[in-house]
Symmetry: C6
């Protein structure tokens, strides 16, 4: 798993958001490597309001990191 | 979903807050793409004190990012 | 809702704290626009230790943003 | 409540920690102004492992803010 | 346990992510030193959607730290 | 409790991590001063997956602060 994240630098805020989502998902894989269990749990949290919001929090934290890495794409403004 | 977020730069703190709310909402869509399930869950967390506060936390995290991106609108002071 | 937040710049740390509280409360309004439901939920989380602490966390996150915006009121020291 | 927080600047990291604890406590007061209810809830979360850890999280967030405000007391090292 | 973390500086974002995972795991060891209990708890949170997401949050927080330490590997872009 | 934290500056990342753990523990003491109650709660959260992860989150937040205070020990790389 050494090539999945070549850089934190992306062209646009939307791509940065996608990267944040990816960073959030990888953590789940690392902690629960069994794809079958993950699929079961995924349907758990995707249908549970609290867990869904908690996933959003993880994405928000990664989005802060990716945004800072890209100097907030200030040149795009 | 590549045009929904052209920039993190907005004119005022209030617009920045709106953007933070939007960033929080998109995460829910990404994790639960089924609009019908989302609507059901939305009424869950909108009527549950803990989940509602958790949503506020996600918005607060995104507002920190958007505020930093805009240098806190210091020129507006 | 475009005039409620003209600036993040305030004179003192105490005013900054008040602003953080305000920023936390607005998120609740945005997610649950029905004032009657909000009042009911408010009494829920105001009497529940965990939810009360969670509200404090949201305020803490906004206070970090407001403090950074004001360069921590270092001139006041 | 305008004089309770004249400055974020304090002399030592230990004083900064005390200030972080104070900042965490004020949020509880703001959200639950009734002292009697607060006392009851306080014994709730002080004897509940999860709530106690959640309080620590709020303190940690405020300590980050206070530490940044004081340039991490680098001159003290 | 003084040699386990010689540096926060790593060559690539992917290595930075691995380090964030390691930093998250060490906290569990410090708080629960008994390996047998940890193994039991690990299977608990690896099969529980909410706990799994909470682990992701810890990793996200450490990834922010490691990314800042490495200036976001901007030279790699 | 004024001498327990003379500085945030430590020599290595591993010492910084130890300090983060200490900062997390002090918050528990401040909120629950009764050592006997703390011991009981400690066994609670040390054997509960969710609480254990929550403790990790607090440590992660303090580690971010300590790392920033030490400029991420970049000179050590």
């Amino acid at each position: 798993m050494t090539d999945w994240l070549p850089s934190l630098i992306v062209k646009t805020p939307a791509e940065g958001y996608d990267l944040a989502v990816k960073l959030a998902r990888v953590a789940i894989k690392v902690t629960q490597p069994d794809a079958e269990v993950r699929d079961r749990l995924r349907s758990d949290y995707a249908e549970n309001a609290s867990a869904l919001v908690a996933v959003s929090q993880v994405i928000a934290t990664h989005f802060a990191t990716v945004s800072a890495a890209n100097n907030f794409w200030r040149g795009e403004a």
